[in-house]
Structure formats: structure tokens, C-alpha cells
Amino acid sequence: MSMFKSLNIKYIVPLAVILYALPLIPQQPYVTHLMIMTLMWAYLATAWNILGGFSGQLSLGHAAFFGIGAYASYFLTVWYGIPPIVSLIVSGMFASLISIGIGYPCFRYGLRGVYFTLATIAFAEILKDVFIYLRDITGGSLGIWLPVTHEGIVNLYFISKESYYYVITSLWLLLMIILSLAGRFKDYLIAIREDEDVAASIGINITRYKLMALLISSYFTGVGGSFYIYYFRYINPYTAFGLDTSLQMVLISVFGGMYSLWGSFIGSLVLTPIGEYLRITLGGTYVGSHLIIYGVLLIIIIRFMPRGVFGIAEIIRSKYLIRGG
């Protein structure tokens, strides 16, 4: 019937079964790593898409929330001895808290479009510089390492990569289920994206819903950053707050189709393995060349299918629907 009705929980259940069953097939650790990265970027892009895709507020600074999540996890674990599984959940709240710093002034005083986007870039860059500068606290540009600890879910420390795969898959599925159930909230955000004046005319409190989108989006992005540090056990300000990290979420979401909940997953399914492969094969010899190929791909996508990969399916379906009456 309508494009947003199709994003139903009934698609998530069979997909969950497949995703959880995948590690049962014996595979090289590298393939497992690739699967973890695919799910992690699918998760991060889905989180970005709440603000960028649904509410249409183009953030190019989501690394800020990713980085805060990662560093908050480090501090909570190493300084306060809080179990990592708890930190994983709490770290997102720090990201949300930080996001108010940019969201309130922008949304309350009507910083729209390009100006909002520029503000988000600046926000992440400032955080990066602050974390590089405060060396005594943050470890500076060298970054931080998580110490080795006891294996297990409480410490989010595993010898086998499969366990990390299960964690990130669960996080992504949880996010998808939450978003599938939050239909009305999503509809309000879409209304705001499509036309703010119209959204206001039908009684939607624009400022409030934009802020909520930002808080929720940054929360889940922060949790993603937290997962990142528990998986890699290391992070530095360049990865944590870098423009590359922000762009990656945007590219995947736009490539897959930012108007749909599934777009980020499809985008990551295509782009993450290509990106990793190019990085390994070309990255060493021709530094940065994988980014060029990435960029060209993105230009092609935006030129020929502005609704992303997922959009094509929608177009075919809507044509069929109209013909079929």
C-alpha cells in the first residue's frame, strides 16, 4: 500500500534467523571480521538515518557521537570499573547529552539546511581537537588501549570473533525492531523532512521532534562507538571524531536509500565489503585510492538513483501497483 508500511517486523524475524545462523558455517577469521564490520556500519548508518534520513537534518558530524561513545566507554571501564556491558548502554547517554550542545541552539533558533550541516562538521572537529589537546586525560593523538580482561559477555571481551558478531548483530536487530515499532514518531520526522511549514500546520512541534530525533540518533551512534572500542580495544581521536567516520555513515545510508529503514543495511552489505577489499588490495600501495572508487560509486548512485538501491525496488513496486490498480 504505502512505502513505509512495508517496513514491517515480519521481515526482521527471518533475517535475524539467517544472520544468527551465519557463523555456523566455518569460515576464516577475516571473513568474520568482514561480517562484523558490515553489521557495525549497517548499525551506525541506521542510527545516523534517524536524523539524516527520516527527519532530513543532514549531519556530517556524527563521528562526534561515535567518538564520545567510544571514549566514555573507556573512561567508565578503566577509571570507574563499570562492567563494559553496562558501559555499552550508558555510553550512548553521554553522546545524547553532548548532542544537546549542538541540537538545542540549531533547532531552537532555526539553523537550517547547509548551516546545520556545517555546524555538525565543526562540532566533531572541535571535539577531535579537544581530545588531541587534553593528552593527560584522553591519551592525546596516540589514542587509548583497553587492557586485557576476563573473557565473557560482561566484559565484552572474547577470543573468538563470532561472539562480537553476535553482539553487533543483536544491537542492529534491536535498533531495527525499535524503529519498526516507532511508526508514528518516524512519520512525524518524515513530515518535518518533507516540509517544515506543512508539518507545523498540522500541529507537529518541529523543534521538539527534531531534538528527539537527534537525541535518539546520537544515543545509538554512541553505543556503536562503544562497540567499536570493545571490539578493536583501541581508538584515537582521528578515527573517533574524524570526518571519514561521519562520511561513512552518510555514504552507506544514502547509497542504500535514506528514505527507508532497510537502506542502511543494504548499503552496508554492498559498500563495506567493497571498501574493506579495496583498502586491503589498494590501500597499501595507493593510499586513499579506495576512497576515490567510493566517491565515484556515490556520484553514480546519486545521479541515477537518488532514492538509493532500495529506492529502485520501491519504484518498480509502485509502478506495478498503479498498473494493477
Binding site: 513505509f4 518524515i190 513530515a191
Partner: protein
Amino acid sequence: MLLSIQKVSKAFGGLWALRNVDLDVEEGEVLGLIGPNGAGKTTLFNCITGYYRPTSGKIVFQSVDIVGLPPYKISRLGIARTFQLTKGFNNLTVFDNIRIASLVSGAALKDVWEILRLVGLEEKKDVYVGSLTLIERKKLELARALTIRPKLLLLDEVMSGLKPSEADEILKVISDINKKGVTVIIVEHVMRTIMRICKRVAVLDYGVKIAEGSPEEVMRDERVIKAYLGEEFVA
């Protein structure tokens, strides 16, 4: 009295788009608001619906002063509006446009269908709004305004750019809406359409209300003729 506009002025820099406008709207009526281009009709609508804040004056709706309230709150009080340059959720279907618009007021799915039927967009429900024709977009404006179950409906040139037969179609819808007890203010600069549906008309010119009364009275008014046709046509 449903709405009372009291000495409302709106200045943009040094330009007065509205100057001391007084206007009362009775419950259940269809009031026409006319005037040449740039007379301040849309500005007045924007002031009533909260998109602009009047420079001075009061706007009282059901004995509440609504000046300073944001658009979404005014909408929730029961004042709906359409946009002169039609707007909509272009990447969504007609059905989704009206469904989402209905969410805030908590209208049921059957209300959505009823509204689509009332404005005659039932058969276009699966069409993306970006590919609608002008008359269909005007109908969508009407439909969306209806979703908030308005007590007062502000229509900003819903018939401009339409063929006479299409305008008649819209006129019929408006009169159906009015019969259901919705008070309507119509902005138009086409006299013909206004004469057919409004018992009372107010005329704006350069931000000042220059006349008010029945369409016949207003049409005979010297200042109105001057505003529309120029000095030399005044008998």
C-alpha cells in the same frame, strides 16, 4: 464571535504589510478576503496562523489571544490553513500525506478515507504527491487542512490557476465543508468565485482594510473600484 482581529499591524523593516486591520469572523460564515496583489492577504493569514508575529495588535480566537503562539499550537486550537503555493510531502503518496497529517489529531483511518472522498482524491491515493496536477494539489491542500478537524479554515487562493470548471469543483467542496459547520475565510483576487460563495467580504489594499460588507456593497464601493481598476473608473 469565533475570531477577532484587533488593530493588527505587521511591518517588514520599513514596509507596512498590514496596518491597523480590524476584522471579526462569525461562527459558521464564509468570509471573503480580497484585494489586489500585495495587499497583505497572505500576510494576514500568516499572522493568524503564527507563521508571522504581528508587530502590534491582538488576534483573539475563541476568547484566547493567540498572538505569539507557534504555528503548531495554533493548529491544535483548530485553525487550519492551506498554502498559496501548494506544498506537500512530495516523496510520499497522497494517502500517506493525509494519513500522517491525521496522526496529530488522532483521526482514525476511516476519517482519512472520508476526507479523501470529500475532496475527490480517493482514486489518486497511491500517487506520489510530486506528480499531482495543480487541481489535485489544491485538493490535497484542502484535505490536509481538514485532517486537524478545524473550527476555522483559512484558504489561500485555492482556486487560482484553475480552469472555471475546476474552480467550480473546488467551490463545491468548500461549500460542503462549510455545511459541516466549519467557518471559512477565503483569500482570492478573483471576484467571480468570491461572489458566489461569500455573504460577506472584506477588502484589503496596501495593508489597510478599505471596505467590508456584502459582495454587492463592496463592488459598488468607490475605494474598492479605485484599488482594483484605478482612479479613472470611479463614477
